[in-house]
Subunit: 226 residues, 2 copies
Amino acid sequence: MRIAVLGTGMVGQALAGRLAELGHEVTTGTRDPADTLARTEPDAMGNPPYREWADAHPQVRLATFAEAAAGADLVVNATSGQVSMAALTAAGRDNLAGKVLVDVANPLDSSAGFPPTLFVKDTYSLGEQIQVAFPEAKVVKTLNTMTASLMVHPTQLSDGEHTVFVSGNDVDAKQTTIALLESFGHTDVIDLGDISTARGAETLLPIWLRLMTAVNTPIFNFKIVR
Amino acid sequence: MRIAVLGTGMVGQALAGRLAELGHEVTTGTRDPADTLARTEPDAMGNPPYREWADAHPQVRLATFAEAAAGADLVVNATSGQVSMAALTAAGRDNLAGKVLVDVANPLDSSAGFPPTLFVKDTYSLGEQIQVAFPEAKVVKTLNTMTASLMVHPTQLSDGEHTVFVSGNDVDAKQTTIALLESFGHTDVIDLGDISTARGAETLLPIWLRLMTAVNTPIFNFKIVR
């Protein structure tokens, strides 16, 4: 598949790298490719600059949000939640229309320090905001409930014995997404329902952030025992 | 231990019954005992009236919130979240002072139908509200992330291979609470930290409610795989 991964941070890199490794034709999208490539300093989280990652992944092309989305069959929103609407607007409604839009972003506001808080509360969700703003895209919320490396290499933890959620209005889009998740190694996918159930997946973040401190690693995940 | 369980609904009954079975001296607390015993109809959730349960548990005494709390070493808030502050106020600040106050309530507002929404969002919590209102009580938030029967009989599901959280400011109060949880059969207790971490435990409810529909049973729980 031709896949656009919007966002060049830790999450975007993890997803783009894994998708390319699995044989997909991957383009990462950013606001200004020249600017992204010109950065030589680690980002605010201490991750190395994109250029280093790009040098190690020559098969992944870098383009503007709009170019990346235009050339893709499926688009992944891997931008941080606070800039997701701007990034998707730059990608362009026409370039997203009719396509599966996998949304892994979280509506986190870090402006008041740790832990960040939700800028969309439990009566709405970023996933729904995106679906409303881009009605012709087929939004599927998923993967936002775990750290980037577990998203794409779930079997590193307990042989993959943990859960990933999907939320979305379009059954076929969810099936396409689930097939991608399974190709990463996920074995326990729970379909929560329509895109309004993204409220549930997004409000897992407050306890996720506390758990990261309590268990002293980001390499953990929820398993729904039933 | 002498334990007061405030609340006579499904959660209060489950906790009071199990604690009595384990040899504790249990009193349930309610606003008006005569009124509670006079009810002959199932409650809004279809649970049988308290009198039926009381007849099957003659060792559990029923008293007012204040009487129950006054005679107890440890108090459990098993009232529904919307009436918790009123119930604890009726129990009396002096009757709670110096005691472990195990808070299992959720700040759910069902007035707009299913799913209910949180009436305290992720920047505060009901657990913290209670701690602030009753500064001399030692509030421990726990058990609010699972259905009543799993709270007290966790081994019925996957031999108890799932997680329960505790949040609270007082280390000894958490140890006392953890010992009670272990006496119920819980084996995986995660101490999230101080009472502000109750925000995380309470914001699990939105996905809990969606999962109940998705997995078609309330008998499920979160396991933190790490």
